[in-house]
């Protein structure tokens, strides 16, 4: 279980800005979301991996690892990848 913050551009699929979803890893959570909101996974994934233009914020961790484990209080955010100078 985790709290997923739905990117505004996907909210027409979910109808809401936040959803609580079952699953103990980010991948499980996204696959569960796909069941609830068909089509959302292909917006976030590319070849079964997180789209290379995206990164995850899982609580304070910035990661691209879909295996990152989550708890019911975990917040998941989908953000653009950033680079520094």
């Amino acid at each position: 279980m985790a709290i997923v913050f739905i990117p505004s551009q996907l909210q027409k699929l979910t109808g809401t800005a936040q959803v609580e979803v079952e699953g103990d890893t980010v991948r499980a959570v996204v696959e569960q979301m796909e069941k609830q909101f068909p089509g959302i996974q292909q917006r976030l994934f590319e070849d079964d991996q997180l789209s290379p233009t995206l990164q995850l914020s899982v609580d304070h961790v910035m990661t691209r690892a879909l295996s990152t484990s989550v708890t019911p209080s975990t917040e998941i955010h989908f953000l653009p990848v950033i680079g520094g100078g």
């Binding site: 233009t53 953000l79 680079g83 520094g84």
Partner: protein, 760 residues
């Protein structure tokens, strides 16, 4: 004294090495001219390469004829995009943002179309550099010029000439049917922005424009490539990240990384501009074709026209606040110039636009727009300087409208631990409030500014800072010194700031550590020197390596003292056990006689932002007759987390501030109607000289980063962010005119003042 460490945030001085100011390990080499930069290399049998570049901002390449050049005696090889493997549309994450290799390959050598003036079209290798340049002139390229588009608003129009026929806007939303120059559209939403603005007593919306600017490193891009008969490729180059160059080369040339060795030489500045490859693949192909090492060094105009400046931008920012000075809502519409290929810095720009404030309701729309300029790249806190100019000017205007002191207004709304950012995540412990308070406490703020045509401005800035991968190994020598082997190229003294962390952990002196930056075959994967990550992440790796060494030292001490390792204690680098006691150095000498070699290992991938904030206070004087702005006094305050080597932290703050001042006042790519850059030289691209600047006072705030054993946050990038808005706000107070465009060059300022007096 240029530095005050704000007392209320000063961490207890329990460190022996950290916080001191030792002479950098590579210092003697660099003040005597012995340090070896890439262009200083003379590899045996080396030849020289030169580029043929597009004279058009946008043109179809009809044909390329290299035959005349190849006939010239001394000309050894030529190269066009046909010599590069067919690229695939693979988007890869370089740690520092992502890259599409088809685009990268097309930027290295143009395929079918030249997309900007200076775009590399072909190259040649010859026995001397003059001959190479002459041969390049003999390569005949037939172009069919196409209409060019040079500014974001034009490029976004439906009728704009398309750069890429198949470019469909990347968005999480439904994809558009038609191709356009809009490479991507990102969006953030928090709360209900309409409610937010409805609750506001004052709402201000402004439009802002900023010009293309360049990182302006003094060392041009330069590489030497040697493609050996055994198929191994070795490249000496000036890069911020040798492993990332290896990764790009492997993809572009379709060869395994194991076949490529990147040797990072000393590097003459980068600031984000020396991460992407340019001349490296071309030098490699030329070397393969002629069987000799090939050096390619860009001339300064090539650096300006054909490497990666940072975007021009068009921005609209709207903020609302209540009478008592609480922000209620924000709205931002941002369009950044990506250059000729998708993948500009709009992502971080959109994430940073409101990052200094606690905004209950906001929306942000960001657009990445391709046009006929060189592919843009990161420049120190990429995207954040643009958006800070917009937001901090509107914040200043709100504060004025509400008759609230600009620092108090910022304090009322400052982001702090627990603040939810507009892009979603919640801040951990951060130091913006402490920076604002330190500025309020500064002598500068407490000293009133007097005199005509003078004004004082303030502004805040934010940058994420990143972690990413770093590897080090550390070998204990027989004399008790430690050789630290690392993969982070040292652009500003990081050898020392990393070595100091190893020394602190081991309880030895910084001088007893010998840091070495080595090639990609000699150390584990290490991400770029960028993202303000090097002292933080590679320092963390050095700390881990030190702990690893300490564990092995304890075991050896136990062996020597014939006791169990559990009985050995370590404090301040003194090892004790079985009634005996030895310093680290003494124990190392003993251990060398009896034990196996001691080698420490540190590998890290901290996955967090360390969240850097900076605040500027600046006094200016404006000559009302010429519009020229003089910086009278400048103070930069920044949360460093912990300043490992305060001198080099101040150096980053001062250097970043100077770049921000240049961006604010004079730096810009000046384009003619033909899409040609008119000022591609250090004479006319006006970076500040030391006669243009005052001393830059620094205040280091230390709000420890919870994710680092010594509290380091990283300091490299954020200081460039606040200067443009701080200076704009100061000029307003000096002249009564608000500025919405960068640079605020003398003609612009004079025009605005004139407009005001003549009521235009």
């Amino acid at each position: 004294m240029s530095t005050e460490v704000a007392p209320d945030t000063q961490t207890p001085a329990t460190y022996k090495v950290i916080g001191t100011r030792p002479v950098r390990h590579d210092g003697a080499d660099k003040v005597t001219g012995k340090a070896v930069y890439t262009d200083d290399l003379h590899v045996p049998n080396m030849v020289f390469g030169a580029f043929v570049r597009s004279p058009h901002a946008h043109a179809r390449i009809v044909s390329i004829d290299t035959s005349d050049a190849e006939k010239m005696p001394g000309v050894l090889a030529t190269c066009t995009s046909a010599d590069l493997p067919d690229p695939w549309d693979k988007v890869d994450n370089l740690g520092e943002g992502c890259v599409n290799y088809a685009h990268l390959s097309g930027n290295v050598l143009a395929r079918n179309k030249a997309l900007y003036k200076g775009h590399a079209v072909a190259a040649v290798a010859a026995t001397d550099s003059y001959l190479a340049q002459e041969a390049a002139r003999r390569i005949r390229v037939e172009f069919e010029p196409l209409p060019a588009t040079m500014c974001v608003q034009d490029a976004m129009r439906n009728d704009a000439p398309l750069l890429h026929d198949e470019l469909i806007t990347h968005t999480l939303d439904d994809k558009p049917a038609r191709p356009s120059n809009i490479a991507s559209h990102i969006q953030f939403e928090k709360g209900n922005v309409d409610e937010g603005f409805a609750a506001a007593d004052v709402v201000i919306e402004r439009e802002f424009k900023t010009a293309t600017v360049h990182q302006g490193y003094i060392e041009p891009h330069v590489s030497v490539a040697l493609w050996n008969e055994d198929g191994r490729l070795k490249i000496w180059t000036a890069t911020q990240g040798s492993f990332v160059v290896r990764q790009q080369m492997a993809e572009l040339l379709k060869m395994p990384v194991s076949q490529i060795t990147i040797v990072p030489c000393e590097i003459g500045g980068g600031f984000g501009g020396k991460i992407s490859v340019y001349e490296q693949p071309v030098a490699a192909v030329l070397s393969r074709k002629c069987g000799r090492p090939v050096k390619i060094m860009m001339q300064r105009d090539e650096v300006f026209e054909a490497t990666g400046p940072t975007p021009a931008s068009f921005m609209r920012v709207k903020l609302g606040a209540t009478k008592d000075g609480k922000l209620t809502a924000g709205k931002a519409w941002l369009a950044f110039d990506a250059g000729a290929f998708p993948g500009g810095v709009i992502g971080p720009g959109a994430m940073c636009v409101f990052s200094c404030y606690d905004l209950p309701h906001a929306t942000v729309d960001g657009f990445d727009v391709v046009l006929n300029k060189p592919k843009t790249q990161a420049y120190r806190a990429p995207g954040s300087t643009h958006v800070a100019f917009a937001t901090e000017c509107v914040i200043d205007e709100l504060a004025e409208r509400l008759k609230i002191d600009p620092i108090e207004f910022r304090l009322n709304n400052a982001a702090k631990e627990g603040t939810r950012r507009v892009d979603g995540p919640v801040y951990p412990r951060v130091g913006l409030v402490e920076c604002l308070q330190a500025i309020q406490e500064s002598d500068h703020w407490k000293t009133p500014l007097t005199g005509p045509n003078r004004g004082r401005g303030v502004a805040c800035g934010f940058w994420f800072n990143c972690g990413l991968k770093s590897s080090v190994t550390a070998n204990v020598n027989a004399d008790g010194t430690v050789t630290l082997v690392e993969g982070s190229t040292d652009i500003g003294g990081t050898r020392t700031s990393i070595a100091m962390q190893l020394a602190e952990t081991l309880g030895i002196t910084a001088e007893d550590v010998i840091p070495q930056v080595v090639d990609t075959d000699s150390v584990g994967f290490t991400d770029v020197t960028g993202g303000s990550r090097t002292t933080f992440a590679t320092g963390l790796a050095a700390h881990e390596a030190a702990l690893d060494i300490q564990k092995q030292m304890v075991e050896q001490a136990a062996q020597i003292w014939e006791c169990s390792p559990d009985e050995v204690t370590v404090a301040d680098g003194v090892y004790q056990g079985n009634g005996k006691s030895l310093s680290f150095k003494a124990l190392a000498v003993e251990a060398d006689k009896v034990g196996i070699p001691i080698v420490g290992r540190g590998v890290v991938d901290p996955q967090c932002s360390t969240n850097a904030f900076a605040v500027n206070l600046v006094d200016v004087e404006v000559d009302p007759e010429t519009g020229k702005v003089t910086i009278l006094r400048f103070t930069v305050c920044q949360d460093a987390g912990k300043a490992i080597h305060p001198s080099y932290v101040e150096g980053q703050m001062q250097g970043g501030s100077a770049q921000g001042i240049g961006w604010a006042l004079n730096e810009e790519y000046f384009y003619g109607d033909d899409g040609h850059m008119r000022n591609a030289s250090f004479l006319d691209y006006r970076m500040p000289t030391c006669y243009d600047l005052p001393m830059i006072d620094t205040i280091i705030v230390e709000v420890a980063n919870p994710d680092h054993p010594y509290g380091v946050r990283g300091v490299g990038e954020v200081p460039i962010v606040p200067p443009p808005p701080a200076i704009a706000n100061a000029i307003y107070r000096a002249t009564g005119v608000r500025f919405f465009e960068l640079p605020m060059s003398p003609p612009t300022v004079w025009n605005a003042i004139k407009g005001q007096t003549t009521g235009e």
